[in-house]
């Protein structure tokens, strides 16, 4: 019974080496994230003040605040959600519950997955061609929301499909077997269970849209605007685009101002993710409570 000796046996050693490797990999993943966040928080927190959050920029962003950019990003996220959520969920329902499993459906599924891999500037050019020029929405909040919605759709449909597929077949059968119609089954059995997954997916898609710079560049984002957009057909400011311009095109801007914009963008995205998490947790608690 030499328990101590076993700790250095080759088998034990190998075990510990691999354990160490796995931990190392995890640390390598986490450390840059922590550094980025720390950097942004430390450098940016001095800039954040009530004035910075509530005033319009002046002197090409060197002074004043970023209020219009914050509001513009919120409008953009809402617009994206408004267009991508219903279409994404309906498409997800159709593809999982109604579409027959044939080559056409498989082709559509493949196309949707590839849609997620299309570079975002391509979406921008698509939006410019279709929404701005053909539909004559002009450079506007509406055109930008629609463009970002197209990009978000790939993710919304994919996550909706996964959430719907995860609902056990037994629940569908239980509902159908007491004479509920297919739609009633989808509406009252499948969707309530898939809802947390769908919400999580669309909020993630939305916060990704909030961070997009390239597509909105060509469909309606403006660097400096005197006020807030008054209608969906107005141009708008947005945080990521603002960050890009002050960093790349405004010489002599205080560095901390850039970090401040980055911090605000991060907080906007993070707050949406927290909301999604809370909704998901509450849904789960209600189910098993």
């Amino acid at each position: 019974m030499k328990i101590r000796a076993q700790l250095t046996s080759p088998r034990q050693l190998r075990q510990r080496i691999f354990f160490g490797l796995l931990i190392l990999a995890t640390i390598i993943v986490v450390v840059p994230v922590i550094f980025i966040i720390l950097q942004i928080v430390i450098s940016g927190s001095d800039t954040i003040s009530w004035e910075f959050l509530s005033q319009s920029p002046s002197e090409a962003g060197k002074a004043g605040g970023i209020f219009p950019a914050i509001v513009g990003t919120f409008y953009l996220m809402l617009g994206t959600l408004l267009f991508s959520l219903p279409i994404g969920v309906f498409a997800g329902i159709y593809l999982t519950e109604y579409a027959r499993d044939n080559w056409l459906t498989r082709l559509i599924n493949m196309a949707i997955m590839n849609l997620a891999g299309v570079p975002s500037i391509i979406y921008g050019l698509f939006g410019l061609g279709v929404f701005v020029l053909t539909f004559k929405f002009g450079m506007s909040l509406l055109a930008a929301s629609l463009t970002l919605a197209c990009q978000a759709l790939a993710m919304t449909i994919t996550t909706s499909r996964e959430a719907i597929l995860a609902v056990p077949k037994e629940h569908r059968e239980g509902s159908l077997a007491i004479g509920a119609t297919k739609w009633q089954t989808v509406r009252h059995v499948v969707l309530p269970q898939a809802r947390p997954g769908i919400i999580t997916g669309s909020v993630l898609a939305m916060s990704r849209a909030a961070g997009e710079t390239a597509p909105i560049l060509v469909v309606g984002a403006a660097f400096l605007l005197p006020g807030l957009p008054q209608s969906p057909l107005d141009q708008f400011m947005a945080l990521p685009y603002h960050l890009y311009t002050v960093a790349a095109h405004v010489p002599g801007i205080p560095e901390n101002t850039m970090w401040g914009v980055a911090l605000v963008l991060l907080m906007v995205v993070l707050s949406f993710n927290i909301v999604a998490t809370i909704i998901r947790l509450r849904a789960r608690r209600r189910r098993y409570g």
Binding site: R100, D101, P168, E170, H171, E173, G174, S175, L176, A177, I178, G179, A180, T181, Q184, H188, V189, P192, Q193, R287, Y288, G289
Partner: protein
């Protein structure tokens, strides 16, 4: 307990109970695979009919023929006649939703929805039209009482159904079916996921329900078939794995004096 009111045999049918469900030369295909061949069976009203047979002989497939659950499987095809009260249910003009209201189904694994006990039982009635809260409360109570579950859950109607025990969940699923007032209840190995005590409770319940409902149960457990059913049908598969009906008769006769050698081999444990 054996009910010998009717004498049924496959070739010569003479019974006292009315025939509720009738199949005539029914074959079922999944794509190129034939799952059932020429099954002709008369299922008596207000009695329990057990379908027994070795694994893979098509028992569950046969059960799912009777409420057209096989429709959900891509490539499933039915030939022959299936009648309920003399109405062929595979005719084009049949409303599948109405059919399933009349022919409810209880599954192998208890499958309560992740909602409250009340909402589970109220699920069917709510889907089938406007109904007042008072009526709904009555239906839920009655259905739970019929399923011998009321006393156990009356104080937790608003709690999640997933918090119930396995046996309670299965009885909840039975009350969920009862709430839509079906005429036929199909049970697909309803006790296979339950412990012996819960199993006996379900069997007692089935005997009570059989006074009002036509019950068809698929079971792996021959003791269960012998204990609970009035008539029993033995299915087995032929060389090409298609299920055929070997024998159908009063349970007491099928188990004590089977007419077919293959039935005898099966119930005495010589194969399967």
């Amino acid at each position: 307990m054996m009910n010998t009111k009717y004498v049924l045999s496959n070739d010569k049918v003479s019974q006292y109970n009315k025939v509720k469900v009738r199949t005539e030369e029914v074959s079922l295909y999944y794509g190129n695979f034939q799952a059932l061949r020429d099954v002709t069976l008369n299922i008596p009203e207000c009695a329990i009919t057990a379908i027994i047979g070795p694994s893979g002989c098509g028992k569950s497939s046969f059960l799912r023929l009777l409420n057209r659950m096989n429709d959900l499987i891509a490539g499933a095809r039915v030939e022959g006649l299936v009648e309920i009260d003399g109405i062929p249910i595979y005719k084009r003009a049949i409303d599948v939703v109405e059919l399933r209201k009349r022919v409810g189904m209880v599954f192998q694994k208890p499958n309560p929805f992740p909602m409250s006990v009340f909402d589970n039982v109220a699920f069917g009635p709510r889907r089938h039209g406007k109904i007042s809260r008072g009526e709904l409360t009555d239906i839920v109570e009655q259905s739970l009482r019929q399923a011998a579950l009321w006393d156990e859950v009356k104080d937790k109607l608003n709690q999640s159904a997933l918090a119930l025990s396995g046996g309670q969940q299965q009885r909840l699923c039975i009350s969920r079916v009862l709430a839509v007032e079906p005429e036929v209840i199909l049970m697909d190995e309803p006790c296979s996921a339950l412990d012996p005590v819960a199993t006996l409770k379900i069997e007692d319940l089935m005997r009570i329900l059989a006074k009002k409902y036509t019950i068809v149960i698929v079971t792996h457990n021959m003791q269960q078939a012998a204990r609970v059913s009035d008539t029993a049908a033995f299915l087995m598969m032929e060389e090409d794995r298609a299920g055929v009906l070997v024998e159908h008769g009063p349970t007491s006769q099928l188990f004590t004096n089977p007419k077919d050698q293959r039935t005898e081999d099966y119930i005495t444990g010589r194969f399967g």
